[in-house]
């Protein structure tokens, strides 16, 4: 995914070094993972979308969001079916041997929705990372730590794009044969053929890595790079986000409870926390000096 969507753009997030920008995206994702309050999750999701717009990768993140919505629905439905907590039964299901009665509660449905929104927010953060953080720089960082991990990462990041192109070509060949969209069997055949060809493609890419000297004894040297204003801003922002997430968790600021009844307090502290998260995350985007 990283190799597939990254675009170089004039934005503060792109101007920060990959390690810092990547850490900022990861921290935002972790904050989303730590929150359960709908207002706070909405704030993180809003931050991710606003950050995507600020980094001029809104289209790529928007595509990821569109793909993630069905996943969110599935999560909500599955949670409602399997979670036995909650006291407000909205649907009395059949009795399944071994599982008991499949009742659906309003609380399980609501919490499923929360989990779905959280998944969407995390996917938005991952999509932002993929679109705005230079994968080559990340790869260099990985290679400095471990050559084997570097080989795996290089193969994986490049192979994703190659296989995606293979899949598109195979599907187009099937369409040219049938004159219409491929049937389910043909689609399955395409997936199978791409999977079967993955080893060959991996071999091709690995051969290229070899002849470019990837396995040689030379140790990758770190290029000295002055710390930019954007490195500092996003670094501070990531620390701030982490602090807010930790403080909220430790201090119990959210006050959200899903079971036995849904409790969604909307007090000043939740509003302040949401505003603080948004401000802390988005402030670095205000400084647009030296981003080209």
């Amino acid at each position: 995914m990283i190799a597939a969507t990254h675009r170089r753009r004039a934005s503060p997030l792109h101007a920060a070094r990959a390690g810092v920008a990547g850490a900022w995206c990861l921290t935002l994702g972790l904050v989303a993972l730590s929150f359960e309050h709908p207002l706070l999750l909405a704030a993180v999701l809003g931050v991710a979308v606003a950050a995507a717009a600020g980094a001029r990768v809104g289209r790529a993140v928007g595509r990821a969001l569109a793909w993630s919505l069905p996943l969110a629905v599935v999560i909500a439905v599955v949670n409602a079916l399997v979670d036995r907590n909650g006291v407000t039964v909205v649907f009395r299901g059949a009795t399944v041997p071994g599982l008991g009665r499949l009742d659906v509660t309003a609380e399980a449905l609501a919490y499923g929705g929360i989990l779905g929104v959280r998944a969407v927010a995390i996917i938005a953060c991952a999509a932002l990372l993929a679109a705005a953080v230079d994968p080559d720089e990340l790869l260099r960082a990985v290679r400095r730590r471990s050559l084997r991990a570097g080989v795996t990462a290089a193969l994986a990041t490049h192979l994703v794009g190659v296989l995606a192109r293979d899949g598109r070509r195979l599907a187009e060949a099937q369409r040219s044969l049938t004159g219409g969209p491929p049937r389910a069997a043909a689609r399955l055949g395409v997936v199978r053929a791409v999977a079967a060809g993955a080893l060959d493609r991996a071999t091709d890419v690995a051969a290229t890595l070899e002849v470019r000297g990837f396995g040689s004894a030379g140790r990758l040297q770190r290029a000295p790079r002055p710390v930019s204003r954007h490195d500092l801003a996003f670094g501070a922002s990531a620390l701030g986000l982490a602090a807010l997430g930790i403080a909220s968790g430790v201090g119990g600021w959210e006050g959200f409870e899903a079971y036995p009844r849904v409790v969604v307090p909307l007090e000043p502290r939740q509003v302040v926390l949401a505003v603080a998260v948004a401000a802390c995350a988005l402030l670095p985007f205000a400084d647009r000096r030296g981003i080209a």
């Binding site: 190799a3 990254h6 675009r7 170089r8 230079d134 994968p135 080559d136 790869l139 260099r140 290089a154 990041t157 490049h158 794009g161 190659v162 192109r165 070509r169 195979l170 187009e172 060949a173 099937q174 369409r175 040219s176 044969l177 049938t178 004159g179 043909a186 055949g189 395409v190 199978r192 053929a193 079967a196 060959d200 493609r201 091709d204 890419v205 690995a206 051969a207 290229t208 890595l209 070899e210 002849v211 470019r212 000297g213 990837f214 396995g215 040689s216 004894a217 030379g218 140790r219 990758l220 040297q221 770190r222 290029a223 000295p224």
Partner: protein, 550 residues
């Protein structure tokens, strides 16, 4: 010390029936430009992979003999170490670019050698400037065209200035312009830096002018090793450059390897055969009636004109009679959302039984035009019309095989039915895929092929040309997008040249390829137009009372 030395190298791939290389002994000296010739499966790619150390370190198998590359014995040094002395470029640009940006791609091999960041930065700048890709440095590698990708891959192979460059059909994916540019870069690298070059190519006519030596392989063994003119004299018909074949067919004793040598050979003929020096003139010689004619009947040179462009207004014509239209575009545009207009108001019609070549540089819109005609995509403005089913064979014939057994995809594959599609030669795969698209569904009114001769040797190309002529004779409209002027000249009666999303020429093939600069056959370049193929050229020369100079 030789840049590359093979001594009795014999190699067999794992589980292979026979050896891919047999007792190969040869040396490439520093600064030499050596062309590897041979048909498909002759062992060219294997030899290059052995020189890069991939054979046997990467592929496994059984290796005998000794191979020393840049002073490193491949029995002791793997491909990663050999990368410091030999840069390698394979055929498929897609799998050769491993980083996200051009700058990172060029830096990658230098970083792997442990160069300091300052040295890497300098190496990247120099490689980019030498190859004329400095403007691409900050571009994403996913946004590049095939030609640009290939140059970037060459830049990565050259960065760090290796002693030896190993190239496996580097121009097979490129249009004539991009291919010539790449070869010009190779010549410059060879002449100015003294880098030895070992390049495998099917289109020998492209490389021979730059070559110091030609090594021909046959069944994995060296069948010839000598200079280009000696190679031209030795070469069997399927390996002969078109100009060599022209002289052979015309009964001229000389066997020139290049257009320049062929011109010289003809100028030396006693009898003062007068040859034109510029294209588009006939020099007072009577022209043969083969290309641009069909069964001896003249084809019209235009189908209505508009703004200087030949625009067909109906199906093609044969012998002055209008042919029923098989496929057509009327004012067709194809504009990419948030992107460029790839086709700009194209009017074109192909009649039943017409054999048409579609030419143009990479990115001119050829593949898009074929997709519109086949109904794979719809024009954003204008109309695409089809009189029936249109069969389309896309660029990679392997994409039509979804199963592990050829027979499961192509009924009637005969002896090849039980083979895995990967184990079938490129030419055979192309033939099978063509039969598949022809036989799936109703009989097609038109068959469209996209770059069918990429990586194909001349023998398979000739068989494909014959099949296309057979289809056209049976009343099927044939339209083939190709960069290969020699291939187009062999079968097409009409050629459309696309430039910047619209036809810039639409006329009989003899007119387009006879008067072209880049899009011209070798025979046309020697004879100044009028004859495109060696056979036509020889017929034309035989009409003159020529006698070889003593």
């Amino acid at each position: 010390m030789s840049a590359l030395a093979l001594d009795g190298v014999t190699y067999a791939y794992p589980d292979a029936d026979g050896a891919a290389l047999r007792d190969v002994t040869l040396a490439v000296e520093p600064g030499e430009f050596v062309v590897l010739a041979g048909g498909s499966g002759s062992g060219k790619s294997t030899l290059l992979r052995a020189a890069a150390g991939l054979v046997p370190h990467f592929h496994g198998g059984t290796f005998a003999g000794r191979l020393v590359c840049g002073g490193l014995d491949t029995r002791e040094h793997g491909p990663a170490e050999l990368a410091a002395v030999a840069g390698t470029l394979f055929q498929d640009p897609e799998t050769q670019v491993v980083m996200a940006t051009v700058r990172s791609e060029l830096a990658f091999p230098l970083e792997n050698r442990g160069w300091s960041p300052a040295a890497v930065a300098r190496g990247v700048e120099e490689a980019a400037l030498a190859l004329g890709i400095a403007s691409l440095l900050d571009r994403s590698t996913r946004e590049l065209s095939g030609g640009e990708l290939q140059r970037v891959a060459l830049g990565a192979a050259l960065a760090g200035r290796p002693e030896l460059l190993l190239l496996d059909e580097p121009t097979s994916q490129l249009d004539p312009v991009a291919g010539d540019e790449l070869l010009a870069v190779l010549r410059r690298v060879n002449e100015e830096w003294g880098t030895a070059v070992l390049v495998a190519e099917h289109r020998l006519e492209r490389c021979l002018p730059a070559a110091d030596r030609v090594v021909a392989l046959e069944n994995g063994a060296v069948a010839f090793d000598g200079d280009p003119s000696a190679f031209a004299a030795w070469a069997p018909p399927e390996l002969q450059p078109p100009v060599t074949r022209l002289c052979a067919l015309a009964g001229i004793p000389a066997r020139p390897a290049t257009v320049k040598a062929a011109r010289q050979a003809l100028a030396n003929l006693k009898g003062g055969l007068s040859l034109p020096t510029s294209s588009g003139t006939n020099g007072g010689l009577s022209l043969p009636t083969s290309r641009g004619t069909n069964g001896g009947l003249s084809l019209p040179t235009s189908r209505g004109t508009k703004g200087g462009l030949s625009l067909p207004t109906s199906g093609g014509t044969k012998g002055g009679l209008s042919l029923p239209m098989a496929i057509a575009l009327r004012g067709a545009w194809f504009e990419v959302k948030d992107g460029p207009a790839i086709l700009k108001g194209v009017d074109v019609a192909i009649g039943a039984g017409e054999a048409v070549a579609l030419m143009g540089r990479n990115g001119a819109g050829k593949s898009t035009l074929l997709r519109l005609l086949a109904g794979l995509i719809e024009p954003t403005r204008g109309k695409a019309m089809r009189a029936g089913r249109v069969a389309l064979l896309l660029q990679n014939p392997g994409d039509y095989f979804l199963h592990d057994r050829v027979g499961d995809d192509v009924p009637g594959a005969g002896a090849l039915a039980d083979r895995h599609p990967r184990d079938v030669s490129g030419g055979e795969r192309q033939r099978l895929a063509l039969e598949l698209v022809l036989t799936t569904g109703a009989a097609p009114v038109a068959v469209l092929l996209d770059e069918p001769t990429r990586g194909m040797d001349r023998g398979h190309g000739a068989r494909l040309a014959a099949r296309l002529q057979q289809l056209a004779a049976g009343g099927t409209a044939v339209l083939v997008a190709t960069h290969d002027a020699e291939f187009a000249a062999a079968w097409a009666t009409r050629t459309i040249l696309l430039g910047d999303g619209r036809p810039v020429a639409d006329a009989p093939t003899a007119e387009v390829l006879g008067g072209g600069w880049y899009f011209a056959t070798q025979t046309a370049r020697v004879l100044g137009g009028g004859a495109l193929t060696p056979e036509d050229g020889a017929a034309r020369l035989r009409q003159q009372p020529v006698e070889a100079a003593p």
